[in-house]
Symmetry: C2
Subunit: 187 residues, 2 copies
């Protein structure tokens, strides 16, 4: 039932129906269910829509837990895959664009998807700090942005940028090592 | 005359007129000029709109040219200031959101504003590479994303993130130095 409703929304999006015109009534009609059925599961259009996006996105990865470095590579690799999926999927592409122009839906997506993902990343960094994999003198929020920033810039803001295999490792290892020439003396 | 037209567009945006309804005709009426006057200066709505955004943004900075590191700090500081301006200016905020939902205007803005800015950053990095301020074994496009990524993530994608004074220096110096603990041996 849930699946039929989510697929109903996807079908409407594929047909080019803008988010603003995507009423619960229309979704119910497309999925062949009553409005009450939808409202039993979702409190409103925002919550339903967020679940549609999650169903269209690649699933969140399992972390190996072998080291901070390895976990970060897996987290960045999943950002890379989501970036590739968004480029190749017209639906996902439209969905993100429309979501960002609807503050309520964006807030719901942020609370239920982005914030938990960021929390996972912060946990990984805290473990890395504890295990001596990370300089102790840098703010962890900034550390997080230093790892995910380069991948997000490429996958979200620069649709023409390359997202080659191995990019996640390259970013993590280069951010860890720094960009100064090896011979140079640190200040 | 140009100024009056640009201010006419800003006035309409401030009144909450959506970009889609912002016709050259309406701009002409608001600015008290003929449509022909606008078309003499701009080939269309896209080009006019991009100039409106540039007029509302803080101006691009002058680079000191003393070192790659100093130039990067100035470039990132200007990203930080644009981020702060966007947060405090309802107009700029709406303008960016609407621009991103219009592929033609976004393409025009990208070609005339973002691409040249990125080219300036790449020039700075090439000089840094030549002057031995940068490891020679990392792709320069990735190097650029490593410096601007953390600032862009904060200023554009995380409207709740702090943009404190000194952040530009902190990012540049930390990306140069790397995140590995000093005592650790590099692989």
């Amino acid at each position: 039932m849930e699946r039929a409703i989510i697929e109903g929304v996807m079908q409407l999006l594929e047909e080019g129906v803008p988010l603003a015109e995507l009423s619960i009534e229309r979704v119910a009609r497309t999925a062949g269910v009553g409005k009450a059925t939808i409202y039993r599961r979702w409190s409103g259009k925002e919550e339903l829509f967020v679940d549609v996006v999650r169903a269209a996105e690649p699933p969140d990865p399992e972390l190996p837990g072998t080291s901070m470095r390895d976990d970060l590579v897996v987290l960045l690799e999943s950002l890379r895959r989501r970036g590739l999926a968004t480029r190749s999927s017209v639906i996902l592409h439209n969905v993100y664009a429309q979501m960002k122009s609807s503050p309520r839906i964006w807030a719901a997506y942020h609370a239920s998807v982005i914030a938990p993902r960021r929390a996972i990343g912060m946990d990984v960094l805290r473990r890395g700090l504890r295990d001596g994999e990370l300089r102790p003198d840098v703010d962890l929020e900034l550390v997080n942005d230093m790892f995910v920033g380069p991948m997000l810039v490429r996958s979200v803001m620069r649709p023409d940028a390359e997202l080659p295999e191995g990019l996640a490792e390259e970013i993590v290892d280069t951010v860890l090592a720094g960009l100064r020439p090896v011979s140079s003396t640190a200040p």
